[in-house]
Amino acid sequence: MIPVLFGISIAVFAIVHSIPGDPADVLLGQNATPAKIKIINHQLGIDRPLIIQYFNFVSDIFHGSLGISFYNHEPVFSLILARLPMTGMLLTGGVLLSILIALPLSILAASKRGALRDQVVRAIPIIGLGMPQVWVGVMLILLFGLKFQIFPVSGFGDTFPERLRSIFLPSLTIAILLSPILIRSLRASMLEILDSDYVLTARSKGISTARITRVHVLRNAIIASVTVLGINIAYLVGSMVVVERVFAMAGTGSLMVDSIARRDYPIVQGVTLYFAVVVVIVSLITDLIHAALDPRVVLK
């Protein structure tokens, strides 16, 4: 993990500093004259040699800090920390809803290959993957936020129940786009296992279809889907900004996008490093779950 993060720190630093544009120019806006830009760049320390700046960046990390934002002068670590509950709840909600949608539909489809219900469920991934996140979010807001007024249009709320209500629509937006991937993976795995000899043996023993599905099929089919889910969670971590924007939720994705536009180097570096850590942790958890479910896999 340490070598991965070290490599990422170099890559992030190099990419951030190679983007054209100037933090001082963004700070000063239309009044920024070349002379003033020079002064502000000196104050921000970005006129120093890159190697010194990188050393300071790494040194800050070792001191438990990710630096101070150029734009609002807040510690980067605090800015990320403030957004973690929202991002965490959104991600968890999206993944849980995806599983709740994908699991029954996959079982329904795989239980009778080629039947109408299978055809309908197979169409879902095509439709789901074809819908832009922005459109799905807007439609959900129009329907459940404005027409029926069941859920708030935007925001995160202050109390826990309010927050649960607030994250439902954005989580559903994520789920509508994530569950098709799970359905496709889970259905294919289940069909493959249903054709296997041990399932045939179980059937010949007279074990009920429900028990075969639960004990023999689902448990084995889930192994492949866990990996698929893990990869997609890692992808989601960095791509939730669209949902955050539509539902006016200030998560880590929005923080990243805003900071890139402002050339707020410390935040961009800090958030990228945070994304990297999350992706590494999600991959690790995925491997652990995979090992727990599949006795053939041994972690060393």
């Binding site: 700070l27 003033k36 002068h73 807040e74 708030p152 402002r262």
Partner: protein, 513 residues
């Protein structure tokens, strides 16, 4: 004293009646002593700083609810009115300005405003890297008495009151009240109608009513919260769904549907704002005035207004926007005329046509649509125009390095006086080489100085009319359109207005329960 049940009831009833009568005849301020209503304003800009020197539009409006200046722009944005200062006198030579301060003003922490606070604030503003250029003329600020401030200028300076009305000259506590600048700007203290409550970067800024505000009965609102909502649709949904009270800058394309919505009001406020197509005069073809005029004539301003601003913008004729003091509506800025455009091009060295590039901001719908309209028009007169899109901050940097040929740019006035724009954006010494165009006309520069250093409005009008006429004739930039400021709010809100300088005063706003 022994009283019967009946008489006790009669007494109670009488007390209620008398109480109601007393309440009804009390002045309104008693009613307003308890501000009510929590207003939520949604906008696509995140608040950035409480430091007036670094403020841009994202921070100016909230700052103006906390800080105040000696003077301020009138509601219609065309005049300057005394605010924390009561009056002023000038010396015979016009260099010394003596201001008398109001004596009933307190900061939100309860300490009275004194001349020491004013001196500290204006001195700091003058040294500022951001907006210090507005105070170029100020030589010194003195505080001879608690209610007296003396400002000495290096030369006669007509725009002084307008400069003092700028947010950059906001009055803060002397020496930041004994804390560091960084600490002060984390929880700022001012004399304005609202005071700091909390700020969550990337989410919201909340201010609450300043109970010690010097204007009786104001503010009417209990709190104002600015929420950062990037998506245009989401802001509209929040307004319609009751999660927001005011939507800042709804897209022009949505104005008609908003106007048709029940419970929503739309404000189309005249703005001291201008959009331009800037020429880099260092480019040989664009150093030719006939080429610049040809391009300027070829721009269909009405089409830009219709396509980009849903018909809400007006074609521009002058470097100054209508609403700015000394704006001259007779300025003969080029208007759409393809015949004149072709004729101008024939008079240039490029009669057979030429190739040019227009630099725009990628992802900016206004820029993209405007560029397409200009491209189509220029093709008709033999100018092949390519469009280069750059990310906004890169585009700005390219413009400032003058590594562009043509680009789209804009300006919103911060003070009533035209001097801010003319010094900064027209003269070669203003720090921007005439808004990064490299335009330099000695007669225009002299007229700008004449306007600055004469207090006689007639002399100033003549100077500024000349500046507008000459810059239009020189087509130093192509003035495209003057867009309005657009706002939408629910019908619970009253008293909301935006002046042409793009500022609003929340102390005048009420929210019905």
């Amino acid at each position: 004293m022994v009283t019967s049940k009946k008489s006790r009831r009669a007494l109670a009833l009488a007390a209620v009646v008398v109480g109601s009568l007393v309440a009804s005849i009390l002045p309104a301020s008693a009613d307003n002593a308890a501000p009510k209503g929590d207003l939520v304003l949604v906008r696509n800009q995140d608040f950035a700083t409480f430091d007036p020197d670094l403020a841009q539009n994202d921070s100016i409006f909230p700052q103006q609810q906390i800080y105040e200046g000696l003077y301020r722009a009138s509601t219609d944005g065309t005049k300057i009115e005394p605010w924390l200062a009561k009056s002023y006198t000038t010396s015979a030579n016009g260099l010394t300005w003596t201001f008398k301060l109001r004596t009933d003003v307190k900061f939100s922490d309860g300490t009275p405003l004194t001349s020491g606070d004013v001196k500290f604030s204006i001195d700091r503003a003058t040294k500022g890297d951001g907006w210090g250029f507005l105070n170029t003329a100020i030589a010194s600020v003195d505080a001879p008495a608690a209610d007296t401030v003396v400002i000495t200028t290096k030369f006669k300076w007509a725009p002084l009151l307008a400069d003092l009305a700028s947010f950059s000259n906001s009055i803060m506590k002397k020496d930041f009240g004994g804390v560091t600048a960084a600490e002060y700007f984390k929880a700022p203290i001012g004399t304005g109608p609202f005071m700091f409550d909390h700020w969550t970067p990337g989410t919201e800024l909340k201010l609450v009513a300043n109970k010690k505000y010097w204007q009786p009965g104001k503010p009417y609102l209990n709190s104002v919260t600015w929420k950062y909502v990037v998506d245009d649709n989401t802001r509209e949904f929040m307004l319609k769904g009751g999660q927001a009270d005011i939507n800042e800058e709804p897209p022009a394309a949505t104005i008609k549907s908003l106007q048709a919505s029940p419970n929503i009001k739309v404000g189309i406020f005249p703005a001291a704002a201008s959009n331009f197509l800037a020429f880099n005069h260092k480019v040989p073809a664009l150093s030719d005035v006939h080429v610049r005029r040809a391009i300027s004539y070829a721009i269909d301003r009405a089409a830009i207004s219709k396509v980009v601003f849903s018909g809400l913008a007006t074609p521009s004729n002058s470097f100054l926007a209508p609403g700015v003091q000394f704006y001259d509506k007779t300025t003969p800025g080029q208007q759409f005329d393809l015949k004149k455009a072709a004729a101008e091009l024939k008079m240039s060295k490029y009669a057979k046509g030429l190739k040019l590039d227009l630099l725009i901001r990628g992802g900016n719908k206004t820029h993209e649509a405007t560029a397409s309209i200009v491209q189509a028009a220029l093709k008709k007169i033999g100018v092949t125009m390519t469009i280069t899109a750059q990310e906004p901050s890169v585009q700005r940097a390219t413009q400032k390095k003058m590594e562009y040929q043509m680009t789209l740019t804009a300006w919103t006035m911060d003070i009533v006086d035209p001097d801010e724009l003319l010094t900064f954006g027209l003269t070669p010494d203003g720090g921007t080489h005439a808004y990064f165009t490299n335009y330099n006309n000695a007669a225009v520069n002299a007229a700008v100085v004449k306007g600055q250093t004469n207090v006689d409005p007639k002399v100033r009008q003549a100077a500024y009319s000349f500046v507008q006429k000459q810059t239009a004739e020189d087509a130093f930039m192509a003035f495209t359109v003057n867009p309005p400021y657009l706002y939408a709010w629910t019908n619970k809100i009253t008293g909301f207005y935006v002046n042409p300088l793009y500022t609003y005063r929340m102390e005048d706003v009420k929210k019905a329960s």
